[in-house]
């Protein structure tokens, strides 16, 4: 039998494996979303239900909730593969580890980031965001959540070998999320004033482009340290 090495096939097989596994355990997809929803519900209860106030703080709340619920899924990103040894197989495979890592991050985004993007209009309604900010909310989440997955995966890779890596990972990753938070919320704020927010989106896009190139390298070297 002729072995056919193809980067695309390798990417696809890791990606489909992770997505399939996630869909077999639906709680893994649903729970972060419920968490997202509950966090957003808490804010009006804590601060007060005045529509004007909610409109003012909505971008920040939606984004902070997005950061936190991304963190929930990240801990599992490499943990199962580390425990059952398939992470070592990925490292030993003839394909570059950064490629498999890219596929895993893409799968993580598909099951954690994408649903948030799809549900964003609902959250925008809950938080009394105007329709003009709706597009901005969806767009920033669309560009920003993959960025969160990439940066977070570096933390997940560094802490995968540790027993109680979860809290430590949030400590490592959350400071690195700050630029994403700033530009995303500022884009939504700008859009609510009916101004052009293309600049903020462009910066988010630039950060995403850098992350796609650089993060897999950092993640794979982190994984090599953790597995060795």
């Amino acid at each position: 039998m002729q072995t056919h090495h193809s980067y695309w096939l390798a990417f696809k097989s890791v990606y489909t494996k992770d997505v399939t596994l996630a869909f077999r355990q639906r709680a893994e997809i649903v729970n972060p979303l419920l968490f997202f929803l509950i966090v957003i519900t808490l804010f009006p209860l804590a601060i007060g239900p005045e529509p004007a106030l909610l409109t003012r703080i909505a971008p920040g709340i939606i984004w902070v909730a997005a950061l936190l619920s991304t963190m929930l899924g990240l801990d599992k990103l490499f943990r199962d593969d580390y425990n059952d040894g398939s992470l070592e197989q990925l490292i030993a495979s003839p394909y570059p580890l950064s490629l498999s890592v890219l596929a895993k991050v893409a799968a993580h985004w598909t099951v954690s980031g994408l649903p948030m993007v799809l549900l964003a209009p609902l959250f925008a309604l809950l938080m009394n965001l105007e329709t003009q900010s709706l597009n901005a909310t969806v767009l920033t989440l669309l560009i920003g959540t993959p960025l969160l997955s990439f940066i977070g995966a570096i933390g997940a890779g560094l802490t995968v070998a540790l027993q109680k890596g979860g809290i430590l990972m949030s400590l490592l990753v959350l400071p690195l999320y700050i630029p994403v938070l700033i530009f995303a919320t500022s884009a939504i704020d700008t859009s609510s004033m009916s101004l052009a927010y293309g600049g903020q989106l462009a910066i988010l896009g630039a950060m995403l482009a850098v992350a796609i190139v650089a993060a897999p390298i950092a993640i794979s070297s982190a994984l090599r340290v953790s597995v060795s």
Binding site: I154, L158, T159, A161, L162, K164, G165, L168, L171, L172, L174, P175, L176, I178, P179, I182, F183, S186, M207, A214, A218, S221, A222, V225, S226, S228
Partner: protein
């Protein structure tokens, strides 16, 4: 460069280098601090507006400068450790990190103490303050990651990777925070022009900056010596050193 650096990959040589460098840094630190503090705190003229309370500048500014200087040295050591697989550079990363965190904490605390009489608040969400706070978080991240590992060897390498990721992100964080600040509020007055500072205040400040570099060097070298010894405790040269007393 490589030929010159190569011998220091050996722990014993690195330890000797620490011993050679230590007195110089110690002299810079002790003399610099004595001269700088006495000159700055006692002899430099009082500010026409802030009176004597401006004198905290002689601690605040040097520690703020070296909080960032320590992070960049840490990142350089981390790159050396990962690229050339030099264990001593990993130890250097671990040695610098707590010192840098302490510098950052000093800068934040003195800044708060200075801010209270000047701005009327211990803390304002100014761009520089926020960046400095995030820098402290990054230091904590490196430190706690290292200490979370049972195996200090992997811990050191993980800390190196995190330090490099942090240094790539640091300018992005800094500029985004500055940008966020100009967008949200622009009222605070932190901008002071160094060029506009009077020479009678500038000189003690410069001396203090050099002296703080000396302190950073001394503490780091002592910590590095300890780390090298702890890591090499089974080697004959360490035993000889201990037996010699």
């Amino acid at each position: 460069m490589w030929k010159w650096l190569h011998p220091y990959a050996k722990a014993e040589r690195a330890y000797q280098l620490c011993n050679t460098l230590l007195p110089y840094f110690a002299v810079i630190a002790v003399v610099g601090l004595l001269v700088g503090w006495v000159w700055g705190l006692a002899y430099a003229p009082a500010d026409y507006q802030q009176k004597d309370s401006y004198r905290i500048i002689f601690i605040h500014v040097p520690s703020a400068i070296w909080s960032m200087g320590a992070y960049s040295s840490m990142a350089i050591a981390a790159i050396i450790a990962l690229v050339w697989q030099i264990r001593n550079a990993e130890l250097a990363v671990i040695s610098i990190a707590p010192v840098g965190a302490a510098m950052t904490a000093i800068a934040l605390i003195t800044g708060a103490a200075w801010g209270k009489p000047m701005w009327g608040a211990w803390w304002v969400w100014d761009a520089r303050l926020t960046s400095e706070l995030i820098l402290l978080f990054l230091y904590f991240g490196v430190l706690s990651l290292y200490h979370a590992f049972e195996d200090k060897k992997s811990g050191g390498r993980a800390a190196c990777i995190l330090a490099i990721v942090g240094v790539v992100n640091l300018p992005i964080i800094h500029f985004s925070v500055e940008w966020w600040n100009t967008l949200h509020q622009g009222s605070t007055i932190t901008k002071f022009d160094t060029s506009a500072i009077d020479p009678s205040m500038l000189w003690p400040l410069l001396i203090n900056i050099v002296a703080f570099a000396g302190v950073l060097g001394v503490v780091t070298l002592i910590r590095l010596k300890n780390e090298i010894l702890r890591c090499e405790q089974h080697r004959p040269w360490v035993r000889e050193l201990v037996n010699r007393g």
